[in-house]
């Protein structure tokens, strides 16, 4: 159950693109066509699913405070219970990611040339995609408790990113036929559409916050129904109208902030 919860949470509520703005650079640069967007999205899911569990292991057995206790005392690590190497996590994580991307590229090229041809050009791009490093850093700061959950989190956030880039690519393909003000064409309108989509995604905020089991399942079903047609205008409107009705944790949090002021 907690796997399912984390899975949907990382896809919809904590969506990489819409809630935390990770991986925006490639999201904006590679979303002109649906086919390339699918290629990059698939590569991101794959790399996140590999690097998040790997970095979880690194964090758990090497970097956290007291993580080195498994080390035999004969290696002479003094005070391993209080040793805290977490200041090294940036460099360790990014090294893992860069190496894994390189490794994945080599393996895929060797065993599946057709997959390589469709994914290959995107793989080097991914090493510097903030969504990947962000996945690992959020995994660390949210203290995900087990390896299995880390895997679920990696796959879930990958799918969330995939959905986002797929949706924006589909919208951008259609928007060519409409008359956008010249100065807003291209980048400008993409930003504004992404903003509107992000507002829409905020309505998922109330999805896992309360209620009994039955209600939860209904919401997730409704959510998956909405996601079936990410590009159609009517669903976008539907989503935006829902904000008013649904309780959103973010909104609540912000309201609290405001009243404090």
């Amino acid at each position: 159950m907690e796997h399912l919860e984390l899975f949907f949470k990382s896809i919809f509520i904590d969506n990489m693109v819409f809630a935390t703005f990770l991986g925006m650079c490639s999201y904006l640069a590679v979303s002109k066509k649906v086919t390339t967007a699918v290629g990059l999205g698939a590569a991101v899911i794959f790399v996140l699913a590999v690097t998040v569990p790997l970095n979880w292991l690194l964090d758990q057995y090497l970097l956290q405070e007291g993580a080195l206790v498994w080390l035999d005392p004969k290696y002479g690590v003094d005070g391993s219970e209080t040793l805290d190497l977490s200041f090294l996590s940036f460099i360790m994580f990014i090294a893992t990611i860069a190496t894994m991307v390189q490794l994945v590229e080599i393996v895929v090229e060797k065993f599946s040339p057709s997959l390589y041809n469709s994914l290959g050009i995107f793989l080097p791009l991914i090493a510097v995609n903030c969504a990947i490093l962000g996945g690992s850093l959020f995994m660390q700061s949210r203290e995900i408790p087990s390896l299995g959950l880390a895997l679920t989190y990696g796959i879930g956030s990958g799918i969330g990113w995939f959905l986002a880039i797929l949706a924006i690519a589909a919208i951008r393909e259609k928007i060519r036929y409409s008359s956008v003000p010249p100065a807003l064409r291209g980048l400008g309108i993409t930003f504004i559409i992404t903003g509107l989509m992000a507002i829409g995604f905020m309505s998922f905020g109330g999805m896992l916050t309360g209620g009994d089991e039955d209600k939860k399942e209904q919401t997730t079903e409704a959510a998956s129904l909405i996601k079936l047609e990410p590009s159609s205008e009517s669903t976008d409107k539907q989503i935006t109208t829902e904000i008013a009705e649904k309780e959103d944790t973010n909104v609540v949090a912000e309201n609290i902030k405001e009243t404090e002021n």
Binding site: F21, I94, G195, N261
Partner: protein, 215 residues
């Protein structure tokens, strides 16, 4: 500008306007959007990027002839990661609250595309002094957008600037609030950052028609 030749000055001034890293080159968007709900966070982020990009450009430029091109990405990442760790530790030591607000986004400077983009596009092919200027110029261009977005979001969202109430007190109903003005809490939500940047792009491209994209 006696210190700088015309060409060098161009390196600094271009990224501020017509070659802005965020609105024109589309680099470094992620962090620009996530932390701009407050002006203070935007400024700190800009300074961190200024430090990392200026110094990183120099280091990469000094090493440009000895880095094998096949592993250059990893080398670049290591250089950036080291600089970012320094920034992170300094922030944790001297501005702990702020480093909590910025949370993982300090770490994400590593994958900030501005940095890798400038390494690839400039530092690998130019000398240290030019690279330094390029780094400063681009991070200032980044800072300008961040500060504009942070300014409007904090002003309209919570009526404060750098935490100081500039529009009066919303609870005591002084200043603007006495005539019925309300804070727009919506500006504090993350999607508004995207829309504000979209509007900045709109303004910039309306003023300079040459920047308009083909559809």
């Amino acid at each position: 500008m006696a210190l700088l030749s015309k060409k060098d000055a161009k390196l600094i001034i271009d990224p501020l306007t017509d070659n802005n890293p965020i609105t024109i080159q589309v680099l470094g968007i992620c962090s620009a959007l996530a932390i701009t709900a407050e002006l203070q966070a935007s400024i700190v982020m800009s300074v961190s990027v200024l430090f990392v990009l200026g110094l990183g450009n120099v280091v990469i430029s000094l090493m440009r002839n000895i880095i094998p091109s096949k592993i250059r990405i990893i080398v670049q990442l290591i250089v950036v990661a080291t600089l970012v760790i320094i920034v992170d530790l300094v922030l944790k030591a001297f501005a702990y609250e702020l480093s909590k607000t910025l949370s993982v986004f300090v770490g994400l400077i590593i994958t900030n595309c501005i940095i890798m983009g400038r390494f690839e596009a400039f530092a690998l092919g130019n000398g240290p002094w030019k690279s330094f200027l390029d780094g400063i110029g681009n991070s200032l261009g980044y800072a300008v957008i961040l500060i504009i977005v942070g300014f409007f979001r904090e002003l309209l969202g919570s009526g404060t600037l750098l935490g100081i109430q500039v529009l009066g007190d919303p609870i005591e109903k002084t200043g603007l609030y006495s005539i019925g003005y309300e804070n727009n809490g919506f500006m504090l939500l993350s999607p508004m950052a995207l829309i504000v940047v979209g509007l900045i792009i709109w303004v910039q491209r309306s003023r300079n028609q040459a920047l308009i994209e083909e559809n």
